[in-house]
Structures are given as structure tokens and as C-alpha cells.
């Protein structure tokens, strides 16, 4: 499949939802509406772009972008798809059901940029500790300016930080990871750590 064909098909299928499309060096550059990112991705996946090279989040100060770099192992055309989403509530649909690799990339985008992926099977922080406050790759992120001690499994500080930031947090479903160590009766908790 040629890059031009891809562009034509996507334009024809989604019309206004896909803005500014062009082809450079065999790569299709597309910008899509964040609300329809999943449909566009599904269409591209169906066209044979079965390989998601990279998924990155970008903070443009007035909006967020989720950038998908797609390619195929059968033809040389590549796609560089940017999905925009508003800055105050960055939220797109997860594509983890199309490409399994998106799972970790989306977790990273959530972790570092705070973009939410609806329908993600397991949206947790991945690189930062569970009890980290804020999303450091945002352009307006200011660090605390001092060393913040974090507990290995984050249970102590998590409660405090959530209280401080007023994030309502239902207790159900939030199980501290430390309990995972308790498979062997009480005294074993943390024994293998």
C-alpha cells in the first residue's frame, strides 16, 4: 500500500475529523481529532499497519497531542498520526486493544503527561512511584524543589497526597502492593522483597 493511497482513504473516510494530511518521504502525516482517534487507528490497523512503533504524548500548552508512529512489516509506508485533545481534560480512547504494545506506552503517557486513555486495561503509573504527585513532562510542572522520600510501595504517602490534593479516592480497589508479599502467612509479608 502506497502512502498516498493511505492518505486518500483516510481523508475520504473521516473527512473533517482528519485535518492537515500530507506525505513526505513515504510517511503520511495526519492530524486527527482526539475524540475520533480510535476510529482512525482502527481504520489504519485494518489497512495493514500492524506495527505500532511508538506512541508519545506532547504538551503543546494549549492542547495535548498523542502521536502514533505506525508502520507495517509488509510495505514501506509509514504513518505519523497526531491526535489532539484539550488541555484541561486530556482524554483519548486507548488503542491497547488494537496494538498490545500501546499498553505500556499509554501508561507512560499517563504517568508523565497525565493524558487519560479511556478503556485502557490497566492504567497505572509505570515509571514513577505510585504516590507521585503531578505529571513531570507537562510544561507547567514545577518540582517540589527538594528531595521527596517515597515509600517503596507508596501506601503511606499516597493517602496523604490524595488528601492534600483533594482527589476523591474511593478506598475500594486500592490495595497496597505490600500486601502482595503476604502469600505465606503473616510473618512472611515482605520477606522476599
Amino acid at each position: 500500500m502506497k502512502a498516498e493511497e493511505v492518505l486518500e482513504k483516510i481523508k475520504g473516510q473521516f473527512g473533517d475529523a482528519v485535518r492537515e494530511g500530507e506525505v513526505r518521504d513515504g510517511t503520511v502525516y495526519l492530524t486527527a481529532d482526539g475524540a475520533r482517534n480510535f476510529e482512525v487507528c482502527r481504520a489504519l490497523h485494518a489497512m495493514g499497519f500492524e506495527y505500532l512503533n511508538c506512541l508519545s504524548g506532547v504538551d503543546w500548552k494549549d492542547r495535548f497531542e498523542v502521536v502514533y508512529d505506525l508502520s507495517s512489516l509488509r510495505f514501506p509506508a509509514k504513518v505519523h498520526l497526531r491526535a489532539t485533545t484539550p488541555h484541561d481534560d486530556p482524554r483519548v480512547r486507548s488503542v491497547a486493544s488494537l496494538w498490545a504494545t500501546a499498553n505500556w506506552h499509554e501508561r507512560e503517557a499517563w504517568d508523565l503527561l497525565g493524558i487519560r486513555f479511556d478503556g485502557h486495561p490497566d492504567l497505572r503509573r509505570i515509571l514513577l512511584p505510585e504516590d507521585w504527585v503531578g505529571h513531570p513532562l507537562r510544561k507547567d510542572y514545577t518540582d517540589e524543589g527538594r528531595y521527596v522520600q517515597f515509600t517503596p510501595y507508596g501506601e503511606a504517602k499516597k493517602a496523604a497526597s490524595h488528601a492534600a490534593h483533594g482527589e476523591a479516592k474511593p478506598g475500594a480497589g486500592a490495595k497496597p502492593a505490600a500486601q502482595a508479599g503476604a502469600g505465606q502467612g503473616e510473618p512472611a509479608a515482605g520477606a522476599a522483597e
Binding site: R124, G173, P176
Partner: protein
């Protein structure tokens, strides 16, 4: 959503107690001799059988991308060394290639040859480390020292070229900073000659050993669909039977001038991944030989301004590192600092396929399978 996001454990997995009395949870790592760094695997075991596995990463996170946004384009080069510290040349290469693509600069031919020579030697060195540590994982201690002996020689070569043994920072945007020293060609030839004699030695200790074969064959199978779905790359993808190598399939630089094969497995088990790397060492040696024979004299640096200010735009550029597709995604806004700087690290993506490989394995296999992915935590955690 937020509540779930903050949960320490994935949904649907009740980690307080096993479903049956036999189940037990074991944390492998972050301090464990076989996690190759600070990786934590939460294993759900039934006796020795692995029922589930959840990798926890980030213990080595040092805001590489945030640092990148606050440095100018040249200052980033030494930082990239610290990503995959076992194959620093490739990090340099991938980053430099991305910036060159943004600026539209083409490095001179001799610089390209130098990059290929250094890169392929680095691939051999990286695979050697992998082979040695994989031997440790399997319980074969001797191969480790053999591999390190040869790796030392490569590091000596690199030291003679760049003055560094691990973090070279030797690539420049637009070319290379220094030419090879006079002694390099002889030393490199001598090394290749020696190295080819050592490969059968590795085979005798590892490849042909029946215990080793039994340990790795049919273990940790990753199907073709999974390998593509998880976007695995490098030896992991090729081990699963997909003959996909960026040097062949999306040739960059001057790779179309060399003759080499892309080894691939057929079953996607640990053995296939082992054999792919084992054979790749030979192919890399072949490439270095050809490049040493062909290398033309001439300039090693293209004309680039003192202050690098690429025009606004974005680029995703990739190279085939020893671990797979190493990509750099850079957005420039025309200032001396990149606006967004993202690393697509192959080990990060390959590691995400680990749970798929581990289903139904034993604890001992977990070590072998993890070893076969060839992870470097510096690159995963960034």
C-alpha cells in the same frame, strides 16, 4: 478512572491471597541477581509454575526526556550514552540521525563508514555481554569470562578511537569528531581474526551443550502475532520467525552497500532468540570486515552551524540497535532546545511482552526468558 489509575495493582487480579492454597506470590527483584538491574517481577506461583507475572519498572527513572527538553541539541549527546549503556554508540547514532533528519544534513561518506564500523563492533560487544550474562542465568558460569575477554578487546578498540570505554559520546550532528587513529585498522583486523576463532569455542561451551539446549528449547514461546502486536523488535522479533531488520528492510546510512544475512528463528522460543544473537555476531563481523575494506578517505564532518537550531518540525527516526528498534522522536520549535524529546527504547517494548512469554513457565524459565529478552534497565526506565 483516577482511583483505578492510582491503584498499585492491576484490575482483576486479587493479590492478597491466591485462589488455592498452593498459590504464592514472589517478588523477583528489585534486588535479585538475575533481573539485570533493578527490575521487579511480581510472580504468581503455583508451586514452581508461573501463573501470572507483572513487571514493575521505573526504579532507575531519571527524567531523561525532561532533561533533554532543557538542554540544547549538542548537550543531549552524552546523556543518550546513559540510556543503553551496553550499546552507547547506537544511542548516539539514533539521536544524531534524528537531529540530522530534522536539519536535512547528510553526514559525509567516511563518517557513515565509521559509524557502521563502530556500530557493528558495538553490536558484537553488546551481544557478548548478553551471552555471558545469559550463561549466568542458566547456571553456566564459564562462558561469562570468555565473552568478557573478547568484549575487553572491543572496548580497547573503542578507547583507542574515542578515549572512552563505556559512554563514548562520540557521534556528532553531521558526522564524527575525530578520525580513527592509525593503529585502529590493524587492531580491528586482528580482533576480527581472533574473534572468529572464538565463536566455535562459545558453541562448545554453550550452543552444543545438551543441558543448555534442554533448558532453552521450547521455553518462553512468543508467537508471531504476539511479537508484532507487542511491537517487539530486534532478536526478539526475529526469534519469532519474522525476518525483519531495519538495516535490511528500511536501510539507513550506507547499509545497502554491505552483504549480510538476517538470521531468524522459527518457533519463537528462548533458543531461537539465542541463536539469532549468536549468528548476528558473525554477520556483524562480516559487515565490519567489508566496511574496513571499503572505507574511503575524506571529510568526516558535514557543514553544520555552531549552534544547532533545527527548523520547526517533528521527526521519528530509528536505527537497529542490538536490542531492536531504537527510535528517537524529536519535536523542534526552532529554538536551540528540543520542544519534545522522546526515546522509543527497544528493551522497554520487548519487556512488555514478557508476561505473554512467561505463561506456563517455571521459575527457572523466568530467568531464562527474561535473559533472552536482553534488557538494559537504563534504557527501559530512562
Amino acid at each position: 478512572m483516577d482511583a483505578q489509575a492510582a491503584t498499585a495493582l492491576p484490575q482483576g487480579i486479587e493479590f492478597e491471597r491466591g485462589e488455592t492454597a498452593e498459590e504464592m506470590y514472589v517478588n523477583m527483584g528489585p534486588q535479585h541477581p538475575s533481573t539485570h538491574g533493578v527490575l521487579r517481577l511480581l510472580l504468581k506461583l503455583d508451586g514452581e509454575l508461573i501463573k501470572d507475572c507483572i513487571p514493575y519498572i521505573g526504579y532507575l527513572h531519571r527524567c531523561h526526556e525532561k532533561i533533554g527538553e532543557n538542554r540544547n541539541y549538542i548537550q543531549i549527546i552524552p546523556y543518550t550514552d546513559r540510556l543503553d549503556y551496553l550499546a552507547s554508540m547506537y544511542n548516539n547514532w539514533s539521536y544524531v540521525k534524528a537531529v540530522e533528519a530534522l536539519m536535512g544534513v547528510k553526514p559525509p561518506e567516511r563518517a557513515e563508514y565509521m559509524r557502521v564500523i563502530l556500530g557493528e563492533l558495538q553490536r558484537i560487544a553488546s551481544h557478548l555481554i548478553w551471552m555471558g550474562t545469559f550463561g549466568l542465568d542458566i547456571g553456566n558460569f564459564t562462558i561469562f569470562m570468555y565473552c568478557f575477554r573478547e568484549r575487553e578487546m572491543i572496548l580497547d578498540l573503542f578507547e583507542s578511537v574515542s578515549g572512552q570505554r563505556l559512554n563514548y559520546a562520540f557521534f556528532r550532528i553531521g558526522g564524527m569528531p575525530m578520525d580513527f587513529p592509525e593503529t585502529f585498522y590493524n587492531d580491528a583486523d586482528g580482533f576480527l581474526e581472533w574473534f572468529k576463532g572464538r565463536l566455535p569455542e562459545y558453541d562448545r561451551v554453550m550452543t552444543d551443550n545438551i543441558i543448555f539446549q534442554r533448558r532453552v528449547q521450547g521455553v518462553g514461546i512468543l508467537s508471531e502475532e504476539d511479537a508484532v502486536g507487542y511491537a517487539c523488535s530486534g532478536p526478539v522479533l526475529r526469534g519469532s520467525g519474522i525476518r525483519w531488520d531495519l538495516r535490511k528492510n528500511d536501510p539507513y546510512g550506507i547499509y545497502d552497500r554491505f552483504e549480510f544475512d538476517v538470521p531468524a528463528g522459527d518457533r519463537g522460543d528462548v533458543w531461537d532468540r539465542y541463536m539469532v544473537r549468536r549468528l548476528e555476531m558473525e554477520e556483524s563481523a562480516r559487515i565490519v570486515e567489508q566496511a574496513l575494506a571499503q572505507i574511503p578517505p575524506g571529510e568526516i564532518m558535514a557543514k553544520v552551524p555552531k549552534t544547532i537550531k533545527p527548523p520547526a518540525g517533528q521527526v521519528y527516526s530509528r536505527v537497529e540497535s542490538p536490542r531492536g528498534e531504537l527510535g528517537h522522536f524529536i519535536i523542534s520549535d526552532g529554538t536551540p532546545n528540543p520542544y519534545r524529546y522522546r526515546v522509543r527504547s527497544p528493551a522497554y517494548v520487548n519487556l512488555s511482552a514478557l508476561p505473554a512469554m512467561l505463561k506456563g513457565c517455571l521459575v527457572a524459565d523466568a530467568v531464562a526468558v527474561l535473559g533472552s529478552i536482553d534488557i538494559v534497565l537504563g534504557e527501559i526506565d530512562r
